[in-house]
Symmetry: C2
Subunit: 333 residues, 2 copies
Amino acid sequence: MDAVNHQFRLAARPDGMVGPEHFDYVEEPLPELTDGQVLVKTAYISLDPAMRGWMAEGRSYIPPVQIGEVMRAGTVGEVLESKGQKLAVGDQVTGWLGVQEYAVCDENAVFKVDAGEIPLTTYLGALGMPGLTAYFGLLDVGAPKEGETVVVSGAAGAVGSVVGQIAKIKGCRVVGIAGGPEKCAWIVEELGFDAAIDYKGEDVGEALRKHCPEGVDVYFDNVGGDILDAALARLARGARVVICGAISQYNKMTSMSGPSNYMSLLVNRARMEGFVVIDYMGRAPEAVGEMAGWIAEGKLVAREDVVEGFESFPHALQKLFRGENVGKLVLKV
Amino acid sequence: MDAVNHQFRLAARPDGMVGPEHFDYVEEPLPELTDGQVLVKTAYISLDPAMRGWMAEGRSYIPPVQIGEVMRAGTVGEVLESKGQKLAVGDQVTGWLGVQEYAVCDENAVFKVDAGEIPLTTYLGALGMPGLTAYFGLLDVGAPKEGETVVVSGAAGAVGSVVGQIAKIKGCRVVGIAGGPEKCAWIVEELGFDAAIDYKGEDVGEALRKHCPEGVDVYFDNVGGDILDAALARLARGARVVICGAISQYNKMTSMSGPSNYMSLLVNRARMEGFVVIDYMGRAPEAVGEMAGWIAEGKLVAREDVVEGFESFPHALQKLFRGENVGKLVLKV
């Protein structure tokens, strides 16, 4: 295998919006495989809000990407060569192989996926980290009960779109907050949400009052900022606020905004809780199995927004933070 | 009974610091007792941070005090006349009789206390609402385990001083945050806290790093603002943040500050939860019994800071918000 491997490596830590200037586009030869290793050709790269956090210095739930390292990313791809025991040429696998066209890795660092019935890209979306994040964040942390009102922000995104659909499957009333009429129409008409709030065109607080007359029992937050504050102001008694992300805050030059309505937690005897999906990896097969069943039954719609061209990685990542994707954003290599 | 009753009635809703201009000092004759009623002479009036919230308009856990109403307050006093079945002249009682020298009320609206061994004022402090708030907030919401690190703000106040002592009784390492060397010395030397942080003289973040090398397992917050943010930055994995109050924010002219470090909840898989002590009233006898036992054994120190003179009520209340009290602040009538 004489192919040249192209990679995006972290060049600088961003202060504000992430952009091409924070990455080096490099090429290097592929190393020889040693025993137990496989060569994987990347098919799709996952673009996730969490990547912005991994580029920043400082203590978090996993170490930051170091300057000069290949940018961390989830991937799906195909085994081109194998010196392993379990994986064979032609197998399709998912793993954390980073923003590169090829990767040589231990065969145990990737997982074989059954991409017969289900598109490979779905293993980066509804059956990948975003889907698991939605599943465990909603069901374990949010713990919605049938008949409760669930509100999710970033509702047309990879996580939010699955959160809302699982909440519907569980018999909840579901309101999604998203930006723009296209996204709002999609989550109501295609995904079956009960209502959508267009934060770009509506006053979120007023819309929540209208769509959640009994208050919000579970609020699943992907965005932070003013929308989190608006949701806090509408909590029902005993509400659970699930902190999954804060995409509105990640690229700010100034420090994060805190939720000034947090005392609503006291008034409403409510809790706000964070989680990291990595902690649930032991239970991933259970969740993937159940969600694959829902997809097969047509109860869960998995949609990926595919950007083409490996070189466009930095611009594709910006698209994510500008909220321009509908469904799970992936880069086709 | 021809006595004249003096009262403080709410005259205006404060925007910033509460003061004499927000109350009317009035006098009125006492009404005749009807069947089932008692006349109670107020001995002590409880001064609590929550009073600031009750003076504000808007949805909260109990309705606001209306303009013209006697200001709501917890009280202890003595029965001077009784047309009830259960209470007799000379009984000492506690209840929500408001900021007035006398009150005529249904005998079921007050509770008889056994003030033989324990000072009457303690029924407004460690054995009253603040003590119950500390007991249920710490044990039920914070749920500390032996050996964990518990940090409490407002640590020399009515609630915080009890929180820290209960945490010590439960085998925790306890760090208190208070303002000034006198309070800090008191909580360590008299109450047995492991360490004190003087937020007026120290960088709270650095001091937390020093005193909580393994992070903060339970943070019991009475103050909000910068101190809440500093504590969030030092959470241990799986930490519980108990939202009890936000006294630093109550008298601000601008809107509340939200905790900009709230994403620490995600990184540390932590939760932040509010509660209202009223919800635990059914279990009050259990808590009062246990805490009275601790007081008798010398394990729980109950201290009240007594201001004399009914007329000084508005100024005494300001003392609370200026953090000038050590222990439970009460007004002697």
